[in-house]
């Protein structure tokens, strides 16, 4: 859409805050929306959700099953669901206190670069961390956003005909004990952290959400 200055700008990304959504439901919704986006029936979207406790497995090898450290009865006792996804990659934990973002964005025609897309997602989260006075960064070869040697946010992306799905999981007030159930994304010698753990205080989920939205719109403008 041409703006008054004659510079081509994108329509603003539509944000849908869905609250607490079971993983399977979010997955089905994304599949549906990816098709809608491919067909041009919807514009670029950012879904923001929170999942009940779930361990999600990838498709490669055993999908990271060997990275579950806890026996299945422990998982059951802590009401952690184990879910096999269609994505690549290793095992990941999602749960309360974690801000999960699923951008459904068409990278055509001018942003067809998967590395750039991942870097952009990392940039959004690095800026959110900076808002809280936290210096977060990238670690070469390890996708995600890191503070020192601890992972603050995980990123895993799927692209079909240049329409994105899956996305990022930012630990806001996540109970980090749950990560002890797994080796996050197969990276064994690095830890996991959250905004609350880094700040040593509680962090308001709505506040974090607002910051994610603002920086997402800036970076993906």
């Amino acid at each position: 859409m041409p703006s008054s200055t004659g510079i081509r700008t994108r329509p603003e990304v539509e944000v849908r805050r869905l609250g607490r959504v079971p993983y399977a439901e979010a997955l089905a919704l994304q599949r549906n929306l990816v098709e809608e986006r491919q067909a041009g029936r919807v514009g670029d979207l950012l879904l923001l959700v929170e999942h009940p406790h779930v361990l999600t497995l990838g498709v490669r090898g055993d999908g990271g099953r060997s990275h579950i450290l806890a026996p299945s009865d422990v998982l059951a006792a802590r009401s952690v669901e184990v879910f096999e996804t269609g994505r690549g990659g290793d095992i990941t934990y999602h749960g309360p206190g974690q801000l999960v973002g699923y951008p459904i964005i068409d990278l055509k025609p001018d942003r067809r670069d998967v590395h750039r897309y991942v870097r952009d997602l990392e940039e959004v989260l690095i800026r959110v961390a900076a808002d809280y006075g936290i210096e977060a960064g990238r670690v070469s070869g390890l996708t995600g956003v890191w503070v020192g040697s601890s992972k603050l946010a995980a990123i895993g992306v799927r692209i079909a005909r240049w329409v994105t799905s899956h996305g990022f999981a930012l630990n806001v007030t996540t109970d980090l004990d749950y990560f002890k159930l797994i080796v996050p994304c197969g990276v064994a010698d690095r830890g996991v952290t959250s905004l609350a753990a880094l700040l040593g205080r509680d962090v308001d989920q709505t506040d974090a959400e607002a910051r994610v939205v603002r920086h997402f719109r800036d970076v993906f403008a």
């Binding site: 990659g89 590395h115 992306v157």
Partner: protein
């Protein structure tokens, strides 16, 4: 007519991709734009649609394999390709695949009239910006590297492997003594230690993790019990508490009390903790047997006895055999923490740093506390970081919450 499907260029700096999954198999019909395969590069998965309608006549790259961008991964034939081929050659699918796969080949044939470029030109022309950047940074001539990519193209993997091996090749020769240097033969013990350390480095995938532990509580308990122990002719050392805490943690996390045997892991029933004792003439590791079954006074007695006999050169072979885990104590000489080498065939080793008073935050106030760093070296072949850290947090918890009645 058939169409080749290539590994797509998913971004400027993307040079290769891994096939995650084929959604179609040879013989399946497919529509144009219907998903054919899924690839992954870093943490990005992409679904690749078929560039043409027809039949999958050939799949050239298997799931899990990584190939360079533009490498042909599959061939889509005309809808009747398989039937025609099958009619001409009853050999079936394989033959059909081969026939159909040959026609559109882009590899230069012997009769190709194109002028032959020099290897270096070709390599420059064909390597990605990333590979060229790495080559420039390391002052490497790309034409010297064997390329495994399409038409001999040098992939990121090729150049990284080349750099790694070059690094080893660049070693300098043995040290030459100069005038005034003293030459001394190694003792048998020194040679054994040397061999043991190098073998361990080569055998295990060493990783280290460091925990800070507050020993103030233990310090208080030691003070309270000092006289009682002295009257019995014993010393209640920090080491005794650490051995007891480690024994408990090994029971909770048995993988740390194991050994690798070929492609098996042996979980040891007994918890036998070796304690590295520095001697004027080297190092020896006597073993506290069944540490899990002994109480603190018994462990204290065992350490005192073993250390005394080690210094008097009176250890028996049995005293140094059967260890399943080792504790070393670089803190004795003031080290904050050490990064120990695993005592083979064990899987983990704990280094105790200096136990000293430091400012520390307790209940939001900076106070003087007795603190130390405990560093664990572990074999990442079988022990993942989360397991090692679970073990360490177990040790830390035991030491920081010690029951004064159990001393």
């Amino acid at each position: 007519m058939s169409t080749e499907v290539v590994m797509p260029q998913m971004g400027e700096s993307v040079t290769e991709g891994t096939i995650v999954r084929w959604m179609k198999k040879v013989g399946d019909t497919i529509d144009r734009d219907e998903p054919l395969l899924e690839i992954t590069t870093d943490k990005v998965d992409a679904e690749i649609p078929s560039p043409a309608a027809g039949v999958v006549v050939e799949i050239r790259v298997q799931e899990g394999e990584t190939v360079a961008v533009n490498h042909v991964v599959a061939v889509i034939g005309a809808p009747d390709a398989l039937l025609a081929a099958a009619a001409a050659q009853p050999a079936g699918l394989d033959a059909a695949a081969r026939t159909a796969g040959k026609q559109p080949s882009t590899a230069p044939s012997p009769g190709d009239a194109r002028p032959v470029a020099s290897g270096e030109e070709l390599a420059r022309e064909r390597s990605s910006p990333l590979v060229r950047k790495i080559a420039k940074e390391h002052s490497v001539d790309i034409s010297q590297i064997h390329g495994s990519g399409l038409a001999g193209r040098v992939t990121k993997h090729d150049i990284l492997e080349y750099l790694e091996h070059e690094g080893l090749g660049g070693q300098t020769g043995p040290a030459q003594p100069r005038a005034g240097d003293r030459i001394e033969k190694m003792s048998v013990m020194r040679k054994k230690i040397a061999e043991h350390m190098v073998i361990s480095r080569r055998t295990s995938a060493h990783v280290h993790t460091v925990f800070e532990v507050n020993f103030s509580r233990i310090s208080g308990i030691r003070e309270a019990r000092r006289l009682e122990y002295e009257r019995a002719g014993r010393k209640l050392t920090y080491l005794a508490f650490i051995i007891k805490a480690v024994a408990g943690a090994l029971q909770a996390v048995p993988l740390l009390n194991s050994s690798v045997d070929g492609d098996s892991v042996i979980y040891h029933k007994d918890i036998n903790i070796g304690v590295a004792v520095a001697l004027d003439w080297g190092l020896i590791v006597p073993v506290v047997k069944r540490a899990d079954a002994q109480d603190l006074p018994a462990i204290s007695g065992a350490i005192g006895d073993l250390a005394a006999r080690a210094r008097a050169k009176q250890l028996t072979p049995d005293d140094v055999a059967g260890g399943t885990f080792t504790i070393t104590n670089p803190g004795m000489l003031g080290a904050q923490f050490g990064m120990p080498i695993i005592n083979q065939p064990q899987s983990a080793i704990l280094a105790v740093g200096a136990i000293e008073k430091r400012p520390a935050v307790v209940a939001d106030a900076v106070t003087v506390q007795t603190m130390a760093y405990l560093a664990l070296g572990f074999d990442h072949r079988i022990i993942d970081g989360a397991v090692a850290d679970t073990f360490m947090s177990n040790v830390k918890h035991a030491l920081e919450h010690w029951d004064p009645d159990k001393a």
